[in-house]
Symmetry: C2
Subunit: 346 residues, 2 copies
DNA sequence: ATGAAAGCGCTAACAT
DNA sequence: ATGTTAGCGCTTTCAT
């Protein structure tokens, strides 16, 4: 159907090598010849077959991106920022939603390998260390984003979750809160673990005993936010504040609090993780830990493409960059005197 | 680096043809031979080179998806639903954000052509009819989603925007509203045009004169929602209700209304387009026109893959499917007596 | 049941 | 400045 380089060569009365030189803007073609070839190319609407080119050059200009679920705003921002950078450098993105499922993740890794992508950016489940190491060995460039994998040494770009979490809890403490609950994802993910650690450090540094009834852990999904918050609100001892460790958990917490007919911040204070447009128009606007998601994605893409283009096979030391979060103060936390805290006790 | 079929063949003492038969589960290989080959494959961690296979078979198992911007929830749901279906059939998705920019769209179409994708799903700007027709002619399967293109005959899956819009405005009228404003995207997009048409039909059928001061048009972005709503609220004659024709416009409208210190629905009623988790936890929860976005995407992917796999070159009549919206009643519209409507006049 | 060999469309080394 | 040709890794037709 579509013409190929051979057809163009024939019609232009030159060899395929010359056509190739023209296509690729290589030097060593007389201007007249170049013009002639370009004319035929345009007449026949010739377009390069990228598959043949990739086979020959061992380069696809594709990068694979594996995220948990693009429906979550965190990942859609990540995907967009990666795609922006990729596009800038002439790469395309193959998008994979692994649903936080190690098997699906492995499957996608294999597909990407077979697709001969030039590199992979992955927010990993943490479970496929062996296969990822084998990819690394076969010289596929990989950048981990947001989470690390035990047993894998490779470039990564992370967020300082521990400090972000610490700052949020510290802020609550500074505002007079003592009974602070955490709803969090599983701690076998580095994000979950670090956010828990920050919570604990803030309490310990302020001599507030850790109350296990206030630490609720399940997956990082909205449904868990609903369930865990319900549990907290049904507790004999109710928390004065809830810190929700990601966007979906925050959403779930807000849903539950609304169902219980509680007012924020008078009945309960809330700090969320991640910031979106919606959180500002909530009533009250939500105080949140903002992650630099766009930077996370764009940096990972820059890093990956740099790796790909340098193709430094002897690069030994891997680069791990950690970005900072920022606490955005809005109105879901009020100043609480320690005394009112005591009165609230039941 | 990675072993190829030739290496496997040598080590197994067979020909490459036999290895290929094994890889592809073709019949006509003795069980003993198959076992031997599989053993070598597994020992050497051989994985098929999809690029070479694609070149030979003229099939990539890739589909291109061009959306406006994955950051918008509408498109992230669309992308996810497409990816889900694609994955089910063994296809991968190459994701492209064209930013509603015809040039970027054209560029991506060319990239996808060069990448030899098996098909393309596109929410089109409407501007690249010629190139899209040329793709169709070179037998690349295409499905349009959400919008049509003038001068292109091809499968499409749409939403009944006119009726969705009509229903929203009719609902406002039934609740006693007369001064109903529309903030809408440009009407050179079919979505924009149809949503305007539904608005107009609802007013006309109820003998409410069209007031051009109440019809505000700009692009479909949040910033436009803010600006257009500001304009409306600064009008000498203020609307009693605002119907925002997509999610980002709704978000912008809410932001503006909040800035003006107005209460919904007492000071002004609002109906949004598109439904997300957030709209339920707003105060008040928002009444919206819900589009079946997931179905839109999954149907388009099913349609595309069916086209690809049938490869019916003589398929003449294109299929256009239109899905219905649903009005989700929540609390951002109150019952208004006609009299109070008059009093509000200034 | 298995192998030999052509060829998908391109690039790149080498020759002229 | 241009051409010849090998070959990327696979599938597939035709032999045997």
């Amino acid at each position: 159907m579509s013409p190929n380089i051979k057809i163009i060569a024939e019609k232009a009365g030159v060899s395929t090598a010359t056509v190739s030189r023209v296509i690729n803007n290589f030097p060593g073609v007389r201007e007249k010849t170049r013009k002639k070839v370009l004319k035929i190319i345009s007449e026949l609407n010739y377009e390069v077959d990228g598959i043949a080119r990739s086979l020959r050059q061992k380069k696809t200009f594709k990068i694979g991106v594996i995220v948990e679920n693009i429906l979550s705003q965190f990942y859609s921002i990540l995907a967009k920022s990666i795609e922006d950078v990729a596009h800038k450098y002439g790469y395309n993105v193959i998008l994979c939603n692994a649903d936080d499922d190690p098997e699906k993740e492995l499957n996608y890794l294999k597909v990407l390998k077979t697709s001969r992508v030039d590199g992979i950016i992955i927010a990993p489940t943490g479970k496929n260390a062996d296969y990822i190491n084998s990819l690394l060995q076969s010289n596929i460039k990989i950048v981990l984003v947001d989470r690390l994998i035990e047993g894998v040494e490779c470039d990564a770009i992370l967020v300082d979750n521990e400090k972000g979490s610490y700052n949020a809890v510290k802020y609550l403490i500074d505002n007079g809160y003592r009974k602070i609950a955490l709803i969090n994802g599983f701690t076998d993910r580095t994000t979950g673990k670090e956010r828990l650690n920050g919570y604990i450090r803030a309490l310990k540094e302020n001599n507030i005993p850790i109350n296990n009834d206030f630490i609720k852990i399940r997956d990082f999904k909205k449904r868990s936010g609903i369930i865990l918050t319900e549990e907290l609100l049904k507790n004999k001892e109710k928390p004065e504040a809830i810190f929700a460790a990601n966007l979906d958990l925050t959403l779930g917490a807000l849903l539950s609090i609304k169902n219980f007919g509680l007012k924020i911040p008078d009945d309960i204070a809330v700090i969320g993780f991640d910031d979106t447009d919606w959180e500002q128009i909530l009533e009250p606007p939500l105080t949140v830990v903002r992650q630099p998601i766009y930077d996370l994605g764009s940096s990972s893409a820059e890093m990956l493409i740099k790796n790909i283009e340098e193709d430094n096979k002897f690069k030994k030391d891997n680069l791990i960059i950690t970005l900072n979060t920022k606490l955005i103060e809005r109105n879901s936390v009020k100043k609480l005197s320690t005394i009112s805290g005591q009165i609230n006790n039941n």
